[in-house]
């Protein structure tokens, strides 16, 4: 189960990137335009734009392995979630709110911090075409620094 403090982090994070790998162990990177944690804190649903779906579903159907890295700026607080594919479906009206929130948060934060036009920033969170749900098996700290790589879930002994 994802700790509640991490769920709260997901509500303020601004960037998410997913990873899959195909049957030849070749990894593929996918930009994520929105995310939400299930009420039971066991799964995360990622909204992925069409432009970044190459090898996505075929890889998930082949082996089910999925990673998701989520980052907050300016703190650089970052966590990586790893787990198994549960399901995918075309994105729908119910996903729009999550997508819009994530896009607005990203555009406003990045524009104010780095000076890029807000419109340019928003373009980097394109409308999603597919929703992928995975069950979280592990959570790792990935914030740059000495704790990076430490596993939070299940807790390291």
């Amino acid at each position: 189960m994802i700790p509640e403090v991490i769920v709260l982090f997901l509500d303020r994070a601004i960037v998410a990137i997913a990873g899959t790998r195909d049957e030849r162990l070749v990894p593929h990177v996918h930009r994520v335009s929105g995310w939400r944690c299930s009420p039971d804190r066991k799964t995360i649903t990622c909204l992925i734009p069409e432009e970044f779906t190459a090898h996505l579903v075929s890889s998930l159907e082949d082996n089910g392995q999925f990673s998701l890295t989520v980052c907050e700026v300016p703190s650089h607080e970052t966590y990586q979630f790893k787990g198994e594919y549960v399901s995918s479906r075309p994105s729908n009206e119910g996903d729009v709110a999550d997508f819009e929130i994530c896009r607005r948060r990203f555009a406003e934060r990045v524009a104010s911090l780095f000076g890029f036009p807000k419109e340019a920033c928003a373009a980097f969170v394109p409308e999603p075409s597919i929703a992928v749900t995975f069950e979280v098996r592990e959570v790792f700290v990935q914030t740059p620094g000495p704790a990076a790589g430490r596993r939070l879930v299940p807790r390291e002994e």
Partner: protein, 142 residues
Amino acid sequence: METTQLPDEIKPVMENGVPAEVSSCSADGIPNTTIISQVYYVDREHVALSFQFFNKTVRNVRENPNASVLLNDPYGYACWILQVRYDHSETEGPIFDQMDMQIEAIASATGMTGIFKLKAADIYRVDSVRKVTLKRPSTDRS
């Protein structure tokens, strides 16, 4: 369009200071995704990624050399996806020195001085390059 060589137009994207993302995969098939501060243009067939921490990416590419890199171009409204293969590491020489200098500049600009420190320049061969052009959202939705 997919090519096997880095075009000239990708050079400024690698110098724009915008973080990039990398996916790698362990030998037992677990993908790993991370955000990195710099991808360095070596030549048309090679890039270098900064090795700052002995992290999962570094371990993965030494057991399975395949990686996927996502570059962001906020000026050109585009992303670039590179499929690459780890080749070797350099801990000295012109590529290392140039990357070290740029990492220090990025660290200073992002408040990460003392945390970002280059251990090696990891050199990768480029297998494929694909440009993803992004649609400009209408201003009423941004």
